[in-house]
């Protein structure tokens, strides 16, 4: 539960070691490089954008090649691929793999080239096929489609946009020009949309004949060929065949590269890393023979990094403790609380002046999640699943690992709450023993009878509601105490009294006073002795006075009073905050009752073998569904309680996240221990 001390690190070294240092820093992944704005008669900056662009281009090329390859070769992808994480390579393995640089790049280009050819061929084939389609109506015509002339006659080949037979076409032409006599025509093919016609007329009548035809919508064919249509179709089919063989050859060539997948992935990573290295080079300042760079490291890594750079690259390293708001933030927590760091970060990292809220939040986080999910069986499933995944997949990415650890602890908490409320897959134990064995379940604490109380029966809901409000008040007070600690750390002890103690007195006093009245006692099931009414009343009054006169910091007493009164109105906010914790009860009940619904549905099949099969199916499907939807609900609403109710009381956030310069790749992780 702390924000780590950071160190400013300055590295001075000879330019010949520049590349080595940049690579080593990337593998170490512990330093955040800052831009160094030193430019004068000695030092200059370098622009590496063109190198970055070329490396990025190569990375894209390899990614494309890999994608193409995977579309032709089915690669087995495990169901748990996302849990596996990146493959870890040592520095030596990494350098060994680099030898294949040019061959792999060549192969990648050839894969892309072949893929391009394949798509070109595909386009051509479609083109040919559509040509064939338009030639089909002319298949019966055994002369070439180009019209020819003899000494006295001219042939006309073309089509009409409607259906004609021989008689009706002659009639139509006679209608257009009744004097035309010397022509002959032959219908090649006809359907509803087009009639293809071969006609012969006297050359001297040609113009008139054409005019008569055009009146009926005659058009010349859109293509010409010096062979007959059927011959042309044969030729096109031949071409299609040739294109298909070409394509197949390209496909074979691509498939032949199927073992290359890993190399393609490796070099994609390599180029991504290179691009990142060159991007970092822009943060450096160079003199003719040396360079200087600056950044942040955590204190625990600083010394080790300095050692490494000195021993391997003769670099001079300066370390000094960093102060100020702009220093990036790294959190450090115990194994139990560390997993929820991600939740804090997803809100906003703490700024350097305040406490790291992770530790306190983690405890409430696990409690609330467990209370909302509250089923021993579900908790067991969740904890086991997460625990096994963490054990089996060692290379898992850190972020994912943290989340799984968080859900592991949430599962443990769920398990405990489940036992307290006597819920194990709902009321599965008693339903099973009643349905299949015909006896009431033996009273096993936690599984069939609650260790504490059953929240779904009798006064259970109100009891749990009261308990939820109590947890809520504790949670809110924890937030106020954290704010008080922040104030005290920065020397503002009075603020802690005015802003935090005052509210605790007011809210706590009011709660005590209410609990000693009739109204709430009937709900809570118990009543405090009436002396608490006085004690609570006085506490609340003191709190209210403190807020009214001191919570505003104006010099002008009148303004201060008005603003204080406005702040006091914030008590309604506290009321709604506390009521908001009723979701702990509601979601807890939702899980429990839906689980019972599924058990009852399953039990409807009755006893015996068929009943057992039906029950098992309903049980597995129903409870899986319930786990999914209610775990989501518990997660979302736990976050909400932390972000809105808890953080709203004290948390400022806005710290700068520590983003170490590291290996950010997709497939391989190159590690160097420092």
């Amino acid at each position: 539960m702390a924000i780590l001390q950071m160190q400013r690190i300055n590295i001075y070294a000879l330019t010949k070691h520049c590349k080595g240092i940049i690579e080593a820093l990337q593998r170490a992944g512990v330093m955040q490089v800052e831009k160094l704005e030193v430019e004068d008669s000695v030092f200059y900056k370098e622009d590496t954008s063109s190198q970055q662009a070329s490396y990025k281009r190569n990375a894209v090329t390899l990614a494309n090649a890999a994608e193409i390859l995977s579309s032709y070769v089915t690669c087995k992808k495990s169901l748990f691929a996302s849990l596996m994480g990146r493959k870890v390579l040592s520095k030596e393995e990494y350098y060994k793999r680099l030898d294949d640089y040019s061959t792999v790049l060549q192969s990648a280009y050839s894969i892309i080239r072949n893929h391009k050819k394949i798509s070109e061929n595909k386009a051509k084939i479609i083109n040919y096929q559509s040509k064939i389609e338009s030639l089909r109506p002319w298949e019966n015509l055994d002369v070439p489609l180009t019209s020819t002339t003899t000494n006295y006659t001219t042939t006309v080949i073309g089509s009409f946009p409607e259906r004609f037979d021989y008689e009706s076409l002659r009639l139509a032409i006679a209608h257009a020009d009744s004097d035309l006599e010397h022509f002959d025509l032959e219908i090649i093919s006809s359907d509803d949309n087009q009639t293809c016609v071969f006609a012969v007329c006297l050359t001297k009548d040609y113009e008139r004949f054409m005019a008569a035809l055009r009146k009926n919508g005659f058009i010349l064919p859109a293509f010409s060929a010096d062979v007959s249509a059927s011959e042309e179709i044969g030729r096109l089919n031949e071409k299609i065949k040739r294109r298909k063989t070409l394509s197949q050859k390209c496909v074979d060539e691509i498939i032949a590269q199927k073992d290359l997948m890993e190399d393609l992935n490796f070099f994609e990573d390599y180029f991504t890393m290179k691009a990142e290295q060159y991007a970092q080079l822009e943060n450096l300042s160079y003199s003719p023979h040396t360079f200087v760079m600056t950044g942040y490291v955590t204190k625990k890594d600083g010394e080790k990094l300095a050692q490494l750079l000195f021993s391997q690259y003769d670099a001079q390293v300066e370390l000094e403790d960093a102060q100020g708001d702009d220093v990036p933030v790294v959190l450090s927590n115990s194994r139990f609380t560390e997993p929820v760091e991600g939740v804090v970060a997803s809100y906003s990292p703490p700024n350097r002046k305040e406490l790291d809220p992770t530790g306190v939040m983690a405890i409430f986080y696990y409690i609330f999640f467990g209370l909302m999910f509250s089923d021993a069986g579900y908790g067991l499933v969740m904890a086991l699943a997460c625990g096994i995944a963490i054990k089996v997949f060692k290379n898992m990415e850190t972020g994912l690992k943290k989340s799984l650890k968080m859900f592991f602890w949430c599962g443990v908490s769920t398990f405990i709450w489940g036992l307290l409320f006597g819920s194990f897959f709902g009321d599965a134990v008693s339903v099973i023993s009643k349905t299949f064995f015909g006896v009431d379940a033996p009273a096993i604490p936690g599984l069939s009878v609650p260790i504490w109380f059953n929240p779904t029966e009798g006064a259970g809901p109100t009891k749990l509601l009261m308990f939820s409000f109590l947890l809520g008040i504790i949670h809110l007070f924890a937030g106020l105490i954290l704010q008080a600690v922040n104030y005290i750390r920065s020397g503002k002890v009075l603020y802690a009294i005015y802003d935090d103690l005052s509210w605790m007195l007011l809210v706590g006093g009011a709660a005590l006073a209410l609990l000693s009245t009739e109204m709430l006692a009937s709900m809570a099931g118990f009543m405090l002795p009436s002396v608490w009414l006085t004690v609570g009343g006085i506490m609340a009054l003191v709190g209210a006075v403190l807020i009214l006169f001191f919570s505003a910091r104006n010099k002008n007493p009148f303004k201060r009073f008005i603003k204080g009164a406005y702040n006091l109105y914030g008590v309604t906010g506290y009321l709604s905050d506390i009521l908001s914790y009723s979701r702990l009860l509601a979601l807890g009940l939702a899980t429990g009752v839906v689980a019972q619904v599924f058990n009852q549905l399953g039990a409807m099949f009755g006893g015996g073998l068929i009943g057992a099969i039906g029950f098992t199916i309903v049980f597995v499907v129903g409870h899986t569904l319930n786990i999914g939807i209610n775990a989501l609900g518990a997660y979302v609403h736990t976050n909400r309680l932390q972000f809105v109710e808890f953080f709203g009381k004290f948390y400022e956030g806005g710290g700068r996240e520590f983003k170490p310069y590291s290996v950010k790749t997709k497939y391989f992780n190159i590690k160097e221990e420092i």
């Binding site: 908001s580 509601a586 979601l587 939702a590 009752v593 619904v597 979302v636 976050n639 909400r640 972000f643």
Partner: protein, 159 residues
């Protein structure tokens, strides 16, 4: 009109009104989610979670209906005849989740759509995109709570 009819009417209201709300909400979010998947299939798990957020109201409705049905003995152990007054009370107890569920699910669906858009552009902002629709759900939860407490309170009444 028997008391049993009124109670079952209440259970029906709780189920189908909250169910309608969830269908609309999840439906809207689903359309947006499918759109994002066309561009970024890797975001599937994230958009699925956002899409499922408005699904809870339907479940709350189911839950209240189930509690009502078991309170009047339609499922589980029989409890004897239900008076008209008692049936009407159950009907009233079902109304909070029926209405609140319907309307909050529709609006939560809209927030989910917006959240899916956020995630499609900035996948790392998932945490925040998740919290915004959850704000709307608060009111369904409050309604659920009142419905549950009311049903629980009506059960022992001797009317």
């Amino acid at each position: 009109m028997s008391g049993l009819f009124l109670a079952i009417l209440g259970a029906a209201f709780a189920t189908f009104m909250a169910g309608i709300g969830s269908s609309i909400g999840v439906g809207k979010a689903g359309v947006a989610a499918a759109g994002v998947l066309a561009e970024e299939p890797s975001l599937f798990s994230k958009v699925l979670i956002l899409m499922l957020l408005p699904a809870t109201q339907g479940i709350y409705g189911l839950l209240v209906a189930f509690l009502t049905l078991s309170a009047v003995g339609v499922i589980g152990e029989p409890v004897g005849t239900i008076s008209v007054a008692k049936g009407a009370l159950y009907l009233a107890a079902c109304l909070p989740i029926a209405f609140s569920g319907l309307i909050s699910a529709v609006h939560q669906g809209k927030c989910s759509v917006a959240g899916i858009n956020t995630v499609s552009k900035k996948p790392d902002q998932m945490g925040k995109a998740l919290i915004i629709p959850a704000m709307v759900e608060t009111y369904a939860i409050l309604a659920l709570l009142i419905s549950i407490l009311a049903i629980n309170g009506i059960k022992p009444l001797a009317i």
